[in-house]
């Protein structure tokens, strides 16, 4: 029997990804460990940050020497930006680097404009402003946001290529705190536009969180810390890959409705036993 793989690849704007899992490249103890983990995740899209030149780590190694650019499309982020002007600036610098690397990710950006360094929650007004400016500048904007459905609608209307609601605060590992909000976001953004990509970004702590995101109907999941800071990052990366497949297939297969009472799996007819004395029903 063949392995059952009915899914289509994830399309985000003009880009098509073979895996629905997007992973970050930050916080790894070593670049070798990062490379192995990226491979184990089976992801084909990895996020990177733009920073002042400090190319070489203590051992004279360079992040870009550990990322196979033929395998991975890079998704540069605007992490660390707290206003729209800085976010646009950083996005343009990222585009410049990716163009010189001839990586197809040069025309998109993971937009992240933060409002507060303690919670790392997005600043909605600055995010919307930056999103509009970047769309005007020709970027395909994958927009990090909170799980607020109204904000998600506004970002889509502003031209975001994908909306990426947080499951819970960045790096918190709390999973999806408000699945109801995520369901509303999916309903609103996909109404008459079923292929519009909604990607759960941030908050994943364990593989089950990934599966839950997909079971709710998310098109993709973006995570970093849950792999990079796991006790065994490579094994966790593999778990995330399997959770992606499991969650997505579970969604496509169509779950049974939840019921208050039990429903026997074996036939009720022909039982040779009698019900216990005093049974209520």
């Amino acid at each position: 029997m063949n392995v059952y793989e009915p899914d289509k690849p994830l399309k985000i704007g003009t880009h098509t990804l073979a895996s629905r899992l997007i992973v970050g490249t930050g916080k790894y103890e070593s670049l070798d460990g990062m490379r192995e983990s990226l491979f184990a995740s089976q992801s084909r899209c990895v996020t990177v940050a733009v920073r002042r030149e400090r190319l070489y780590d203590g051992h004279g190694k360079n992040l870009l020497d550990f990322i196979d650019l033929d395998r991975y499309i890079l998704l540069p982020n605007t992490a660390g930006c707290y206003n729209a002007i800085d976010a646009v600036r950083v996005a343009r610098l990222g585009r410049e680097i990716l163009k010189s690397l001839e990586n197809p990710g040069f025309d998109w950006v993971k937009l992240e404009v933060l409002g507060d360094s303690k919670t790392l929650l997005p600043d909605p007004l600055a995010t919307l402003e930056a999103c509009k400016r970047l769309v005007d500048d020709g970027f395909q904007v994958l927009c990090y946001t909170s799980d607020d459905p109204i904000m998600a609608v506004r970002l889509k209307a502003a031209g975001a290529t994908a909306v990426m609601p947080a499951g819970s605060p960045i790096g918190s590992g709390q999973g999806i705190l408000n699945p109801n909000n995520l369901q509303i976001i999916l309903e609103y953004l996909k109404s008459n536009d079923p292929d519009y990509p909604v990607i759960v970004d941030a908050g994943v702590g364990a593989a089950s969180d990934v599966s839950i995101a997909f079971e709710l109907g998310a098109d993709g999941v973006l995570l970093n810390t849950a792999i990079a800071h796991a006790k065994d990052p490579v094994m966790m990366a593999s778990a995330m890959h399997h959770a992606t497949l499991a969650g997505r297939q579970s969604f496509l297969a169509g779950r049974i409705p939840k019921r208050l009472y039990a429903q026997a799996s074996s036939p009720e007819d022909g039982v040779i036993t009698s019900r216990p004395h005093g049974s209520i029903n």
Binding site: G24, T25, T47, V48, R52, L55, A79, L93
Partner: protein, 67 residues
């Protein structure tokens, strides 16, 4: 001598220094970086010809691990 801001720090350079000289002094492979001069991106093809001017603010950035 010229005084510029290089990645947020004051730096003294000789007159006639180009953007390319600055990148080379930082030891960065050109294809891994992008350069901003007074908040404007410098096209890669211009690195060898643009001379640094006194008071310039230059940022040389690259990609690092991130989420």
């Amino acid at each position: 001598m010229l005084t510029i801001q290089f990645n947020g720090q004051p730096k003294t350079v000789n007159e006639g220094t180009t953007i390319e000289d600055l990148i080379q002094s930082a030891g960065v492979p050109v294809k891994f970086c992008a350069v901003e001069r007074n908040l404007e991106i410098v096209p890669k093809g211009h690195y060898a010809t643009i001379l640094v001017v006194d008071g310039d603010s230059i940022e040389v950035v690259t990609l690092v691990g991130g989420g």
